[in-house]
C-alpha cells in the first residue's frame, strides 16, 4: 500500500539559509500534518492543512511557513535557519473516513 512520501530524506544547511521540505500524502488523504522531533524528544505539532486550507497551528516559528497544494502535497518552508532547527521533520496524512494519522519516514534536517 502507498505510504506518505517525504523528500528529501536528509538535508544539511548552514545557519541563515533556507530549506524546503516536501510531503506527498497517501492517495485520497485530504489532511496533512507537520511535526518536529528534536533529539530525544517526542514529536511536536507544527501545522496542519485540510483541503488546502490551514486547519490548525501549533508551535511553529514565524520563520516557517507551509502550504498544501491542489494535488494535496504540502511543503514546509523554513527560512533564516538556526542551529536549534536541527531535527526530524515528519509529515502525516489522514482522511475524513479514518482519523488515523499515517506518518512518513521523516526528513532529517541538520543545520551547521
Amino acid at each position: 500500500a502507498a505510504g506518505v512520501i517525504q523528500s528529501p530524506r536528509h538535508l544539511i544547511k548552514e545557519k541563515r539559509e533556507t530549506a524546503t521540505l516536501k510531503c506527498y500524502p497517501i492517495p485520497r488523504h485530504d489532511t496533512v500534518y507537520w511535526y518536529q522531533q528534536g533529539p530525544g524528544q517526542d514529536p511536536q505539532f507544527l501545522i496542519s492543512f485540510y483541503e488546502k486550507m490551514q486547519s490548525d497551528k501549533g508551535s511553529i516559528p514565524d520563520r516557517f511557513s507551509a502550504q498544501q497544494f491542489s494535488d494535496y502535497h504540502s511543503e514546509l518552508n523554513m527560512s533564516s535557519l538556526e542551529l536549534g532547527d536541527s531535527a526530524l521533520y515528519f509529515c502525516a496524512s489522514s482522511n475524513q473516513y479514518s482519523d488515523t494519522q499515517y506518518f512518513g519516514p521523516g526528513t532529517r534536517l541538520t543545520v551547521l
Partner: protein
Amino acid sequence: SQELEQSPQSLIVQEGKNLTINCTSSKTLYGLYWYKQKYGEGLIFLMMLQKGGEEKSHEKITAKLDEKKQQSSLHITASQPSHAGIYLCGADIHAGGTSYGKLTFGQGTILTVHP
C-alpha cells in the same frame, strides 16, 4: 509538564518475557494512538482506541483504553527482538472527539529485548 506521561521511560527485557507500557493523560482522552518508532525513522501506526474499555490486539500486542482513568496500556506477550524500538502514545486531547487536530505525544518508552 507533559500532558501525556508514559511509563516506564525505558524497559529492558529478556526475549520471551511479557511487558506493559502505560500512557496517562492529564486531560480527557477522546482517542488514543500507539505508534512504534525505530531510532531516527518514521512512526509506524500500531493501534487506535476510541471508546472506554476498548481493547485491540494485533499479533502479540494488545492495547486497552481506560477512559475513566484517562489511561491506556500496551501489552506485549512473549517479546521478541523485533519488538525493540520506541513506543509512543499519541492523543487528540485538544479538539475533543476528532483527530482533525494535532496529536500530542508522550515522551516515548525505549524497549530493548535481549535475545
